[in-house]
């Protein structure tokens, strides 16, 4: 038989002004199982809490009901007090007689009666409470950072510098991401490579960081603190331990006309290649699709020239399995595919390029050594048109969002162009200039005023070629929507930043949600900007939405702190409000029927399948099992389960049923 104590709080006059607290306390003393009841001016005060603690000891209470304010306010307070008196904290419940009673009703008998009803209801509930233990989950103190762009690099370094192990998984042969392709960065115009390369090297050399390039996430199982991750290390056709990175193979490879992805097709590379000179690791991979040996069966020049015999043609993809406590997803973004804007002629006219290609043209290490020369004939363009919002903010094109970085990099491009081609004229077609950020507006202003960039507010309808010139036709909306035609030598599209083509697949592998544009979704847009709805998986950088470098870096550090905080304890403590599938002795095992209709209902993929086997290993039954690490306790599965095989601790069927019965029967 439960021994319940009821403690009615006056909350100064907040409750007692309309509710006769003494009466409530006295009447609740008449309830079944209530062995002690009292009222007090401030239950949450030190003397109030002491009163509860002493009553627990004196009256051997094993259940406590505090009738006071909202449990959202003081439930932790009173549970802690009960715990200090040696009671299981989850055997303490609160009846909300302030927000839901004394404050919303006038002083009357009904109000007091209602307070009594609420107390009775919670007394009946608490009688069905079961002692619960906070869930402790051990934590594997290794983080996996997916993506080796600037966000991934920052995150990995921050976590590693906190003393935790980091595994970085990068899809490309080198880390560095899009930032390594950039020439200069706004608003300072410092060289991108110069600030990034040292950090790339730091990653490679950090004792706490294991780097897997040319690798992808194969699968993710488990839950916060205890992920099991399979990583596919694509074959580089190379023994990395032997390779010294001398580069002889890349110079001797006979296939030399392969468009270089790093140069966005503006330069060429060989079949065995290092994507760019500063690559980390600076060791080549063989692109099998373009390699003579893999395609035609003969060649092996690289093998012959390699001074250390590091080439391995028969090397296969390798799947490695690692354990991790947290994941940081920094997979970045992509730029809108070329044929998206047929009217702008990208892909049709060589001299229509996108922003990233311009970065390569402007880069001192790029295909033109930093000279702005047009791709078609290598001439220096004298008139250049930058088109902002190429795809962004355009519902007709399916991208309603602002890509955010284009205004700034377009201004930067115009500036870089002007700094390199002094007699050239840069034009910018824009919708609005969004230059919110430290020194950003000043930067754009400089492009306009100092570097004489012609900003035209309006959109471009079409770009076509006439007599060797690119005719950019648009409207100048500040001149009464006057049609404008500019005969340009080169056109640069600030193409929209979009999610990676494989982001949806990755999101499903990680069980994190994503938005309509396939960018990964934060758990809360404001208050949980680097968390996902899957505990233990964090986000940083442009995989969430287009972001500039400082934002990506800030998010990366934010995510790193979340990981470090998680790793600061050896165990993770969670509220035990989780669902559980009942278990019984054989031959029943559980009332669960194994229909798994609950599986899809769970927002957290917490419902797993458990096979019950006999001694010979034959499956007798397949049952649902709740992964306590993943379950957040919403109870949606509980209400769905036909056989009531699932129950929710803290809000169990018995508890809720008792509440309904108690509320209505008196």
């Amino acid at each position: 038989m439960a021994r319940v104590g009821v403690f009615v709080c006056h909350c100064g006059e907040n409750i007692s002004a309309t509710v006769d607290c003494e009466k409530v306390a006295k009447e609740s003393g008449d309830l079944n199982s209530v062995v002690f009841s009292t009222d007090y001016k401030y239950m949450c005060s030190d003397p109030g809490q002491t009163l509860i603690k002493e009553a627990i000891k004196e009256h051997k209470l094993d259940r406590v009901v505090v009738a006071a304010c909202s449990p959202r306010m003081h439930e932790p307070t009173f549970r802690k007090a009960c715990s200090e008196a040696g009671m299981n904290p989850y055997l303490c419940e609160m009846a909300n007689i302030r927000e839901h009673c004394s404050w919303v009703h006038p002083k009357s008998e009904e109000t007091t009666a209602k307070a009594g009803d609420l107390v009775r209801t919670i007394v009946e509930k608490v009688k069905k409470n079961k002692p619960l233990q906070a869930i402790k989950v051990p934590i594997t103190k290794t983080a996996i950072v997916i993506g080796g762009g600037v966000a991934g690099i920052q995150s990995a370094l921050d976590i590693a510098n906190c003393g935790h192990k980091v595994i970085m998984v990068e899809k490309q042969p080198s880390i560095g991401g899009h930032m390594s392709q950039l020439s200069e960065t706004f608003p300072t115009l410092d060289c991108s490579q110069c600030i990034l390369t040292p950090r790339m090297v730091e990653v490679a050399q950090h004792p706490n960081i294991t780097l897997y390039t040319y690798a992808e996430i194969e699968s993710v199982d488990g839950f916060i603190g205890n992920f099991k991750v399979k990583i596919r290390r694509k074959s580089k056709s190379l023994d990395e331990n032997l390779c010294t990175g001398c580069g002889l193979c890349t110079t001797k490879c006979p296939k030399k006309k392969i468009p270089n992805e790093f140069e966005r097709g503006l330069g060429n590379r060989t079949a065995i290649y290092v994507p760019f000179p500063q690559a980390v690791p600076n060791k080549p991979v063989i692109d099998r699709e373009n390699c003579n040996y893999y395609q035609k069966g003969t060649c092996k020049v690289c093998e012959k020239v390699c001074p250390v015999q590091a080439i391995r043609f028969d090397q296969e993809d390798q799947i490695i399995e690692v354990e991790a406590g947290a994941l940081v997803v920094c997979t970045g973004f992509d730029v809108l595919k070329p044929n998206f804007f047929p009217e702008y002629g990208y892909g049709k006219y060589k001299d229509v390029i996108d922003g990233l290609q311009f970065e390569r043209l402007a880069s001192a290490s790029g295909p033109t050594k930093g000279e702005i020369r047009r791709p078609s004939d290598g001439e220096i363009p004298k008139k250049i048109v930058f088109i902002a919002c190429a795809g962004s903010r355009d519902p007709a094109k399916g991208i309603e969002y602002c890509s955010k970085i284009c205004c700034m990099y377009t201004a930067k491009h115009a500036m870089l162009y002007k700094h390199k081609v002094h007699d050239g004229t840069p034009y910018v077609f824009y919708m609005d200039i969004r230059a919110g950020g430290k020194m950003y507006e000043e930067f754009v202003r400089r492009a306009i005023v100092e570097d004489d960039t012609k900003y035209i507010r309006g959109r471009v309808s079409t770009v076509f070629e006439r007599n060797g010139k690119l005719i950019v036709r648009g409207a100048d909306t500040l001149m009464g929507a006057q049609p404008v035609e500019i005969e340009a030598d080169m056109v640069v599209l600030a193409s929209a930043g979009v999610s990676n083509p494989d982001s949806e697949e990755l999101a499903q592998r990680l069980h994190v949600s994503y938005d309509a544009y396939k960018f990964f979704a934060e758990a809360h847009p404001k208050l949980k900007p680097v968390e996902t709805n899957t505990a233990g998986i964090f986000l940083a950088g442009a995989c969430q939405a287009p972001k500039d470098i400082p934002e990506s870096v800030a998010a990366a550090s934010g995510a790193a702190v979340k990981v470090a905080a998680l790793f600061s304890n050896s165990e993770l403590t969670r509220e035990p409000v989780v669902a559980e599938v009942n278990r019984q002795a054989p031959p029943v095992f559980s009332t669960c029927t194994g229909c798994f209709l609950c599986e899809k209902v769970c927002p957290y993929q917490a419902i797993e399948r458990e096979e019950i086997k006999d001694r010979n290993g034959n499956v007798i039954k397949t049952l649902a099992r709740i992964n306590k690490g993943l379950c957040q306790g919403c109870g949606t599965c509980v209400a769905l389960c036909r056989v009531k095989a699932i129950d929710l601790h803290g809000f169990s069927n018995q508890q809720m049923y008792s509440e309904v019965m108690a509320l209505l029967n008196f």
Binding site: P342, E343, K348, Y349, K350, D351, P375, S376, D377, P395, A396, S461, T462, F464, E465, R466, G468, I471, R473
Partner: protein, 300 residues
Amino acid sequence: MIRLGFYPGCSMEGGAREYQESVIALAKVFDIELIQIPDWNCCGATAAHNLNKELSLSLPTRILALAEKNELMDIVVPCAACYSRLTVTNHELNKDKSLADKVCDVIDMPYSGNVNVLNIIQFIQKYIADKLEEKVTTPFNYNVACYYGCLLVRPNGILKFDRPEDPQTMDILVKKAGGNAIDWAYKAECCGAGMSVSRTDIVARLSGNIIRDAVERKAEVLAVACPMCHSNLDMRRPEINKFLKKEVDVPVLYISQILGLAVGLDAKTLGLQRHMVAVNLPEKKAEQPAPITNTIKTEA
């Protein structure tokens, strides 16, 4: 025999008779009967929709209601302006039920909002395109500049037809008819449209730019799908030539005429003699014209 509704609108009965003739003749080749919506009225394709919204919707609604009454659920509307008005009306009515009720009240006829309005290209795509290639007897092997104009593809959000700035559907049809649809820059530029009568100077300039670009890119024929475009590019040719300061005699044909020629219909049936700019297409050998890929030097 497929039976479809047909809404001619004013121009088909007047200045663009050859358009109607060619559409009907072409349909016939493919065993399609086009049935005029009985008692049809003006679509209201004037500036009226800027002045009185309900009136501008009531006129087309009556047409649609009549079509529905006669169980013509797919209607072919060759005139781009009529097509625009009818489609916009469908959109407005389906968007706002109370407005639909009000308009139906005005015309005193019920209308469900379900009549499917097809422009000439949609009609050909849906009912003819699949069988087109097998019916082609005389491939139309000329360089054709397909001109779409404005109303066929805009407003895109409502019409949801083709790409507004770089439409392709007519080009595909021309290619199926054996023609070479050239890549050019004025596909969807304004021809001057409603200024046809009031400001011929503007028409001459706008249409002139179109004709000039087409000719510069070696077009032998312009293909159109709108009577208004046709009249500006064809009838206003003297003014255009004056603006261009040279004599340009490139003919302007309706897409239905081009396809008609390709499937072996004769010039008379298709009403080619009714054009202002004489249609004197040079004899061509049976083989395809040398493909003019692009005039741009940079293209390899």
